[in-house]
């Protein structure tokens, strides 16, 4: 019952023991400490964004960047900072926040600490949509993100329908299974498309690795609205999410129609993740790790874990993207390849250090 269950409560969901706040050890932490913690997180996020804007592969000093932001410097510098760097950093932050948020909700809804929005077919579906758009010659236009978004949503709808057909109660296990099957199927279709159209194969592969380059302001505009909306909804349902993480039977006992609520939440996550992926490609690891670190630092209660995961995910992706475009300048490393490279040691550090404290 309740606390001892292997779920998402308390710390690194089920793997470790209780977290730093809430959970089996009770609610003993002072309010002030939580506020301070969040303040620190906000500062960290702001610092990450600032670093992202101030540093780049172009050799501009921080003062030049600030001057450019304020309208000074020459046309080239201004264009570079405002037209290239700024939208890129903002997109990276919003994507990271979206993925962190999506990961948190998904892990709770599916009662699985390793669940990911991508596991339901969003990434494979989006990939297929983007491939189809490329094949139709719509490379680089608005059709690509739209097709990607549509593909992602379609995939999740199919996964949910499949799960429902397999199991009326749409238990989490069924949903995961259906999602996996659909993911593999859509991925296979993408591979087939790559093989049949070898001229697109490299571009499809590059898109899959994820990049924040040359996306303009379309992505940040769309994503900010979607993110704000989803965040408001998820935060409003924070208690519901807490209840859901106890399991279906528990939830039913508390008067919650778990299957229906879960479907709604999954669709929202799919929309959010689908949008993120369709602009930036598939960037893994953030959706898995941001929620875990958020819970470990701020406790399992969704009221705190949700915003924490969003801020952490955003900062992490901004810093990863910064690395991707500066480590080997003028070369650009695909950011999707870097996130796990940078994230895994960081995750281990937080996890091991947290473990040591218990």
């Amino acid at each position: 019952m309740g606390h001892g269950r292997a779920g998402c409560k308390g710390g690194a969901g089920g793997i470790g023991s209780g977290g730093t706040e809430g959970g089996p050890r009770g609610f003993g932490h002072p309010q002030g400490r939580r506020v301070a913690g969040f303040a620190a997180l906000f500062l960290f996020a702001a610092a990450s964004v600032a670093l992202g804007v101030l540093i780049g592969s172009a050799s501009l000093s921080p003062w030049e960047v600030i001057a450019a932001l304020l309208g000074g410097e020459d046309q080239t510098t201004r264009s570079l900072v405002i037209g290239i760097r700024l939208p890129r950093v903002i997109l990276a932050f919003l994507t990271g926040a979206a993925l962190g948020l999506g990961g948190t909700v998904m892990q709770s809804v599916l009662e699985n600490p390793l669940a990911s929005p991508f596991g339901l077919g969003v990434s494979a579906g989006a990939g297929l949509g983007v491939t189809a758009a490329m094949a139709a010659g719509a490379f680089g236009s608005l059709l690509m993100p739209v097709a990607g978004f549509a593909g992602g949503i379609l995939a999740v709808f199919l996964a949910l329908s499949l799960a429902r057909a397999m199991d009326v109660r749409t238990s989490s296990a069924t949903v995961v299974l259906a999602g996996m099957v659909l993911s593999l199927f859509f991925s296979a279709m993408m591979d087939l498309a790559s093989a049949m159209m070898p001229e697109y194969a490299q571009r499809i592969a590059l898109w899959q690795m994820g990049s924040f380059a040359s996306k303009g302001w379309r992505g940040p505009a769309v994503l900010s609205v979607l993110l704000a909306l989803c965040f408001a909804i998820f935060q409003g349902k924070a208690t519901l999410l807490d209840v859901l993480s106890f399991g279906d039977e528990q939830a039913a006992g508390m008067g919650v129609d778990a299957p229906r609520e879960k479907r709604r939440l999954i669709i929202l996550v799919a929309a959010l993740t689908g949008a993120a992926v369709s602009f930036a490609g598939i960037i893994g690891f953030v959706d898995l790790v941001a929620p875990h670190i958020a819970r470990r630092l701020f406790g399992a209660s969704h009221r705190r874990a949700l915003p924490a995961a969003a801020l952490l995910g955003g900062s992490f992706l901004v810093l990863s993207d910064l690395a991707a475009r500066t480590f080997a300048a003028p070369r650009e490393i695909p950011v999707g390849a870097l996130t796990a490279l940078l994230g895994a040691p960081f995750f281990l550090y937080v996890y091991v250090r947290g473990r040591g404290r218990e």
Binding site: A6, G7, G56, S57, S59, L60, D74, Q75, T76, R78, S79, L80, G83, I84, R85, P87, L110, E111, N112, P113, L114, A115, S116, F118, G119, S123, A124, G137, F139, G140, S172, A173, V176, L177, M180, S183, S187, P198, Y200, Q202, R203, I204, A205, Q208, M209, G210, A213, S214, W217, I282, G284, F285, L288, A329, P330, R331, E332, G336, A337, A340
Partner: protein, 332 residues
Amino acid sequence: MQAANRANKAKKARRAVSKRAYAAALAVSLFASAILSSCGGGDGGGDEAGAGRTLTDPSGKKIAVPDRIETIAVLAPSLAEIVSALGLGGKVVAYDSSSADVEGMGEDAAVLDMESPDMERLLALSPDILLVSSLSLYDQENPFQTLEDAGTCVACVPTSDSIEDIEGDIAFVASLLGEDEKGEEIIEGMREEIDLYSDMAKEAADAGAGEKTVYFEISAAPDLYSFGSGVFLDELITMLGAKNILSGETGWLGVTEESVVEADPDVIFTNVDYIDDPVGEILSRQGWEGVTAIENGDVYYIDKNASARPSQNVTKAMEQMAGCLYPEYFPD
């Protein structure tokens, strides 16, 4: 127990997705390195063909060349162009799908895939000579062993990057097919054309034209790809009296937007042909407004085949670039 199963399933699904991403990353880097890599020598074809001479192909493999060459199969567009220029297109019985535009290829020739050619078809055709580049050998050391055992002479010409290597390829193919003189003619012609355009560039420089900086893109946003030194395009640009903004790097590379914008090239070339309006796409890039080339509209498309295939036709690309850099010398 159930939770562990679920965790395992989710783990597998997640691994499948990230495995795909890493496989994709690996595939792309393999593709990129295949351009620079050698063929990874085979175990030296046997002498069963009852051959005359023995040659060493550019990948270092010793091959036994048949006395009579009636049928040729070629699986790389640059090599097809060389064969065609040697006047032997009529003997081609099979070529790869990218070479469909090369002139003079045999009428009823089979069209095969460059990276994984239909081996049964090739065996049925049993050509006297098979010409491949490193792109056909990325999978195994010698996928054409069965063909060699059946008597085909398989010659591997790794994809060349420098002009010197291109000339070497032409000389080798000419020698292989018994057209040494023609090969020399082609190389001479190439050198003459190159000299013609570099002299033009010198004239312009003497007339006070100044050195223009150039950025040559081979892949459009958001995955910008270009090249540094050691690549024939870079050599051509240098011989035209201009400077590649990435000449400090070597080989082919993906670049960050910021680096290009900061370098502020005077002229931008692109050979991207997979979108409708590559020049328009570059001109409308957000954040690039201040770049000199964009401001002056000096963004040009260079013929894809001429600039992507390491053959004697790279001079066409040079001509186009010269025309864009020194329009005064080209009245049209």
